[in-house]
């Protein structure tokens, strides 16, 4: 898409040394500080209230949720408050199993996604070979294909693919990828957007670093692994979050390809609460339970996501 990376870094100074001093130039005065804080707090309500509504409702019996719906009480843990809905959730679904599955699926997708997409981006951004412009364009062209429109042909297709299965000590081929972990992972590893993000970021890292390493006798893989990747904390964090969220929230695909309960991810678990009588309290409790790990992860990751430009410790 845009290829203006060279203009962004005219001084070719390593990103980190600059960022330490970033935008600290104008620390606002006292009055604007108060204004800013007031604005920030006002906006907190806007973003947090629906989530508070979810958490609070998860503590109430169904009838109370609906009775409170039209007033401030919807946001307050008042009335018949208990953890019954959570008890109900653990009774009804194998929550820990679903959670473990989602952790494995999202985790492996993220790790392999970072590895494979960053390697591809490295080849595109920092190596010279014929046809790379074409390949880059091709990859970028696939950016805007929403998964929903491909799910059906993909289902048909993965069912034709061979799987290797361990049968005792011998390996056997069997047809079809349905009902496995890897069918929830492998199709989502290569990601045009991740390639694009890495490509952009790699292009902004000074090439002198490569050349210096070449002079020291390093091969391209070593440069990738020891020079470029360690400098790419923010890109890695961005790709990690971008890959993690859809993997964690994926719903349509596991529905189509997973039959056995032992392999189901957390989002499918939500469906267990929509019976003839929907138990909304449990829906809210379950939703809260599956949201908490992601929030925790963001809190852990946001440092590198935003700050690591300042702290990724450039040794180049």
């Amino acid at each position: 898409m845009v290829t203006t990376e060279a203009t962004v870094l005219p001084d070719l100074e390593p990103p980190a040394s600059r960022a330490n001093r970033t935008s600290g130039a104008n620390r606002p005065g006292r009055r604007s500080r108060v204004l800013i804080t007031v604005a920030r707090i006002a906006i907190v309500g806007f973003f947090a209230l629906p989530i508070v509504f979810m958490l609070v409702s998860s503590l109430k019996p169904d009838l109370q949720i609906f009775a409170d719906l039209g007033s401030w009480r919807a946001f307050a843990p008042v009335g018949e408050v208990s953890l019954d809905n959570y008890a109900g959730v653990f009774d009804r679904v194998p929550f820990w199993q679903f959670l473990a599955n989602s952790v494995v699926i999202s985790g492996v997708t993220v790790v392999l996604g970072i590895l494979i997409n960053s390697m591809a981006a490295f080849a595109l951004a920092r190596l010279r070979w014929r046809g790379r412009g074409f390949v880059l364009t091709l990859i970028l062209a696939t950016l805007i294909v929403p998964f929903e429109t491909l799910a059906l042909p993909l289902l048909w297709w993965v069912n034709k693919l061979p799987s290797l299965e361990a049968n005792g000590f011998s390996l056997e081929f069997s047809q079809g990828w349905l009902n496995t972990y890897h069918v929830q992972i492998i199709p989502f590893i290569a990601n045009a957007f991740s390639v694009y993000l890495f490509y952009q970021y790699f292009s902004s890292i000074p090439r002198e670093l490569d050349e210096a390493a070449r002079v020291d006798g390093a091969g391209w893989f070593a440069i990738y692994a020891r020079v470029v990747m360690p400098l790419s904390g923010p890109a890695i964090a961005t790709v990690a979050i971008l890959t993690f969220l859809p993997a964690w929230n994926s719903y349509l695909w596991p529905l189509m390809v997973i039959q056995s309960e032992e392999l189901r991810p957390v989002m499918i678990g939500l469906q267990y609460f929509f019976q003839l009588n929907v138990s909304w309290g449990q829906v809210m409790a379950y939703s809260s339970l599956i949201t908490v790990p992601v929030v925790a992860l963001f809190i852990a990751f946001q440092k590198s996501f935003i700050n690591s430009i300042a702290s990724s410790g450039v040794k180049g």
Binding site: N26, W156, S287, F298
Partner: protein, 316 residues
């Protein structure tokens, strides 16, 4: 791709002066083979899980294949397309998809930038506010849509709040059941859900602007607005493109919100192309027709991304 032209020139002197032409050729060859090794895994995955399904969809679009049927699909030429182009619901979905993108892309990008500036100010509590603002992003879209379905009810929280604020002057709108308001309501919710993600991308962009530029502009006596215009904004150009692309992708794939909140109604005011493709393919079992919708969608999206590419190129 500017880097491509810059790099070799800078690279030459880095090579030891004794390097012969043969040696350089060998180095280039090594570079090519490294590139091939690094990009192949991603390319194979793209081919398997993107290109092949796209090709399958392409083929199916010209048949009357059914998801469930004892009759094999038959070639029907352009019949599916003829039906689509004469179907008012399809046109409504094209119109809504564009309407959604045209409103959401600038509004979401703009509010995300405002938020980022607010959060980037050197005032205490930044981490806390950033985390709270980010909560909707990490909450699954299915859950978010359910929550807002409650809040948009006619006697729901939003109407209560609005009539409270206006002292009862406001007469409640049945948001999701009013053909005029349903799509704006979904736009608003989608922006609420996604804006903080782009706030974080803007933030990362803000951090890369060197502090010296702010210092210099201060010495020149620039005010806040001028600083934004001449320092901040030019430094964010690359980030802007990234944000434009991400939001456009998300807007065009609008599906989950529709499926959970309105099923395309009332009176086709919220149906979208992807929603129609899924509804036709799964609920109505018309795989062939659904593939035709997907195909038209790909073409639309290619045109849009072509235009976008042209525009971003002109700016830089």
């Amino acid at each position: 791709m500017t880097t491509h032209t810059v790099a070799p020139a800078q690279a030459e002197p880095a090579h030891p002066t004794s390097t012969s032409t043969r040696g350089r050729r060998r180095a280039l060859k090594g570079e090519r083979s490294a590139a091939a090794w690094m990009i192949s895994p991603a390319l194979v995955l793209f081919a398997l899980f993107l290109l092949i399904p796209i090709a399958l969809a392409f083929g199916l679009a010209f048949t009357d294949t059914r998801l469930i049927s004892p009759r094999p699909g038959q070639f029907v030429g352009l019949e599916n397309f003829a039906y689509l182009f004469s179907d008012p619901v399809f046109w409504a979905s094209v119109r809504n998809t564009f309407l959604f993108a045209v409103v959401v892309v600038p509004v979401q990008a703009g509010s995300a930038l405002l938020l980022a500036l607010l959060v980037n100010a050197k005032v205490r509590g930044t981490t806390f506010f950033r985390t709270v603002y980010f909560l909707p992003v990490v909450t699954s879209m299915v859950v978010v849509s359910l929550l807002w379905r409650f809040m948009y009810q006619k006697d729901g929280l939003i109407n209560q709040a609005l009539s409270g604020l206006t002292g009862g002057l406001y007469s409640p709108i049945d948001w999701l059941n009013d053909p005029v308001w349903a799509l704006p309501a979904i736009m608003f919710m989608s922006i609420w859900q996604g804006v903080a993600f782009h706030m974080v991308i803007w933030l990362a962009g803000l951090q890369t602007i060197p502090a010296e530029r702010y210092e210099a502009s201060e010495i020149d006596g620039a005010n806040r607005l001028q600083q934004f215009r001449f320092v901040t904004w030019p430094g964010l150009r690359q980030t802007a493109t990234l944000i434009l692309v991400t939001i456009t992708i998300a807007s065009f794939s609008l599906f989950t919100q529709i499926a959970v909140m309105t099923q395309g109604g009332p009176l086709d005011s919220t149906t979208t192309v992807v929603y129609q493709a899924v509804r036709t393919g799964y609920q109505q079992l018309q795989t062939g027709l659904a593939s035709a919708i997907s195909l038209v969608f790909f073409v639309l999206v290619l045109i849009v991304s072509g235009i976008q590419r042209y525009l971003t190129r002109e700016r830089s």
